[in-house]
């Protein structure tokens, strides 16, 4: 299959966040070797791929959680490890996959912690901090829950609170590691809509790891498809998502149709032979005429 070539390192030199020829992994286990990825500015980038393809590893390396054993992650042209951690925290936010809310902490307190990178010993809670936190609570629709303990909230509410905390950080770049895991479908869509608004209305650069391919196609403006630690294709979903790509990356036989709501690619996995009706053996067969019941 024809996969799009990885972006040339030199061609997007004005993009703020990139990984340059990095080798990343955990302890002795190398996940990706010599990987070069550019996160385009002002795009909603989604990284997709099968389990253990290295997408979370890549995201965490971009967020400086993992240090590459070779190569470097560059932020604004400089190695990300050369910045003080608080400085990075002012430019780049991360919504981690699993965070623990301390026992009994209220929503307002938790979101207020997002201001930490902007605070100093004698500047612990300025009026600006207050305004920004209020704004973040409003933007994620949790303002009414401000004095409730976080552990009393539902999963959907809690995830919005974590997002509010990341928003309070006021970073132009926001990374999200599987932000919709464990949420039910309504809350998944709500979360992704929020992210889309952050991108569209506030012009932030978003990078999310999503495991749901259809969500990725619907919301991403830029897709990075990975497999076995390497990038297989990058580009807008409508351009690169084809049945061939899905087969290559996920090993899933499917057909790709147009989402009737958004026009973006919609992946429909092919049914197994036993479940296919006699009229639908071939993807190109004409649709069956529904027979009225009892006729």
């Amino acid at each position: 299959m024809s996969a799009q070539r990885i972006d040339d390192p030199g061609s997007s030199s004005e993009d703020r966040l990139r990984a340059n020829d990095v080798t990343i992994g955990y302890d002795a286990r190398v996940i990706s070797r010599g990987l070069t990825v550019t996160i385009p500015d002002n795009e909603f980038t989604v990284i997709i791929g099968p389990n253990a393809c290295g997408k979370s590893t890549l995201l965490r390396s971009l967020a400086r959680m993992l240090v590459p054993s070779a190569g470097a992650v560059l932020l604004d042209g400089q190695a990300i490890s050369s910045y003080p951690s608080k400085e990075v925290a002012r430019r780049l936010g991360l919504l981690p996959q699993s965070s623990v809310a301390p026992d009994g902490i209220t929503v307002a307190d938790l979101v207020a912690r997002g201001r930490y990178p902007h605070q100093r010993l004698l500047r612990q809670w300025s009026r600006t901090d207050e305004e920004i936190v209020s704004g973040a609570l409003a933007a994620t629709n949790v303002a009414d829950l401000a004095d409730r303990p976080v552990d009393e909230l539902s999963g959907g509410q809690r995830q919005r609170v974590w997002l509010a905390m990341a928003l309070a950080q006021q970073t132009p770049i926001l990374l999200l590691d599987e932000p919709t895991t464990y949420l039910d479908i309504a809350h998944q869509i709500e979360m992704l809509d929020l992210c889309a608004d952050l991108h569209a209305e506030q012009g932030r650069t978003l990078v999310a790891v999503l495991h749901d391919l259809n969500h990725a196609c619907r919301y991403a403006t830029h897709l990075i498809a990975m497999r076995a630690g390497a990038v297989v294709a990058t580009g807008p979903p409508s351009e690169i998502v084809t049945a061939a790509l899905v087969e290559d990356v996920f090993g899933l036989a499917c057909r790709v149709i147009e989402d009737p709501e958004t026009g973006t690619p919609l992946i429909v996995p092919l049914a197994r032979a036993a479940l296919r009706g006699p009229d639908l053996q071939h993807p190109d067969a004409p649709p069956a005429v529904p027979t009225p019941l009892g006729a």
Binding site: Y26, N51, A52, G54, K55, S56, D177, E178, F250, L252
Partner: protein
């Protein structure tokens, strides 16, 4: 066809910090290997027991040991073997089993691999009662201490359990631990006070406080043996329920285990075993903590196997430590409680460093 997308294994690694223990090849994961391992350990125990009877301030060759065991006579060897060596060896085995299994149950009950029977206040309770016995009732030998120590251990663990289970959700691990620490601190202070106020009490107490097998005859063994046997049998039958509860109370209930009943029975087992052991020989730490770790490193988290291996490995440690204590400063003796900690601790630390420690 690929399986439906789930959280990638990367994410689960990230979630627990990459802490998947890699299982070395020699870990007995199959049933057959576990049985073989157990048999080998039993043989090792037999060897150690033989040594324990043979070795001491006067060395008796194994052949003579066996003949004297089978046919007691009036020779000095026979006397030494039957009056001194056999009692302490047998007591060592019993106490080892008791402490090891109490520790294993304790760790399973509290879902905390750092739990030690001492956490439930057993040692402190026994010690307090012994000090009371010494200072108020004038008791001064191991046999005399025994009822005090056992009563003290029982009362302390009951009090800890009651405090820990006050309130709605009962005796959760954290509450038990906190209650145990509080009770231990209070009792330790009482012990310190009483021993400081009376030097004679301190003098007698300090020799009891390190845990020793010497000067204890078969009469002590017979007194504690029923408790240890009952406790050990109960512990073995609890293995299944403890496995179910290891994954959380909810999962345990779903699997049909009764949470309250298992907790109460486990508490009873710990009280019986640790109480009897401490009453017989004084407080010996570390065996109950470290041996279940070693057993788990071999067998994995199945509590039934952990209990079985612990019952064999713990006496090996204890009797072995006793042997070393008898040899090292011959003709004097190093108390078994001291030796156990001195050889057990470095081994334990080495074990902790060598592999990613398997969590409960």
């Amino acid at each position: 066809m690929s399986s439906p997308p789930q959280s990638s294994s990367q994410s689960s690694t990230a979630r627990d910090g990459g802490r998947h223990p890699e299982v070395p090849k020699w870990v007995a994961t199959t049933g057959r290997r576990k049985v073989i391992g157990l048999v080998l350990s039993l043989l090792l125990l037999g060897v150690v027991v033989l040594f324990s009877i043979a070795v001491g301030s006067r060395y008796i060759p194994p052949a003579e040991v066996i003949s004297v065991l089978l046919q007691p006579n009036d020779s000095q060897s026979s006397t030494i073997v039957h009056e001194l060596r056999v009692p302490r060896t047998v007591l060592g085995i019993a106490v080892g089993i008791a402490l090891g299994m109490a520790g294993a149950v304790m760790q399973a009950l509290t879902r905390n691999p750092l739990a030690d029977p001492g956490l439930l206040g057993v040692n402190a309770g026994a010690a307090t009662a012994v000090v009371i016995g010494i200072s108020i009732f004038g008791v001064s030998n191991a046999l005399g201490y025994l009822p005090f120590a056992f009563a003290g251990a029982a009362i302390a663990s009951i009090v800890v359990y009651l405090i820990g289970s006050a309130g709605r959700s009962g005796a959760t691990p954290v509450r038990l631990a906190l209650a145990g620490v509080a009770v231990t601190a209070a009792l330790t202070a009482v012990i310190d006070g009483m021993t400081l106020l009376d030097p004679e009490t301190f003098d007698k107490y300090r020799f009891w406080a390190v845990g020793s097998l010497s000067g204890r005859g078969m009469d002590i063994f017979w007194q504690v043996m029923p408790f240890i046997v009952v406790g050990a049998l109960m512990a073995l039958t609890l293995g299944h329920s403890l496995n179910a509860l290891a994954m959380g109370d909810d999962v345990g209930k779903a699997l049909g285990a009764s949470v309250t009943r298992t907790r109460v029975l486990s508490g009873l087992v710990i009280m019986l075993l640790a109480g009897a052991a401490t009453a017989a020989v004084g407080p010996i730490g570390f065996v109950g903590l470290a041996i279940p770790h070693a057993a788990r490193a071999i067998t994995g988290p199945d509590n039934r196997w952990v209990l079985a291996y612990t019952a064999v490995l713990a006496p090996i440690l204890l009797v072995g430590a006793d042997i070393i204590g008898r040899i090292v400063v011959r003709p004097a003796e190093l108390s078994v409680g001291i030796v156990t900690a001195i050889i057990g601790a470095p081994v334990f630390i080495a074990l902790v460093r060598r592999r990613r420690v398997a969590q409960l």
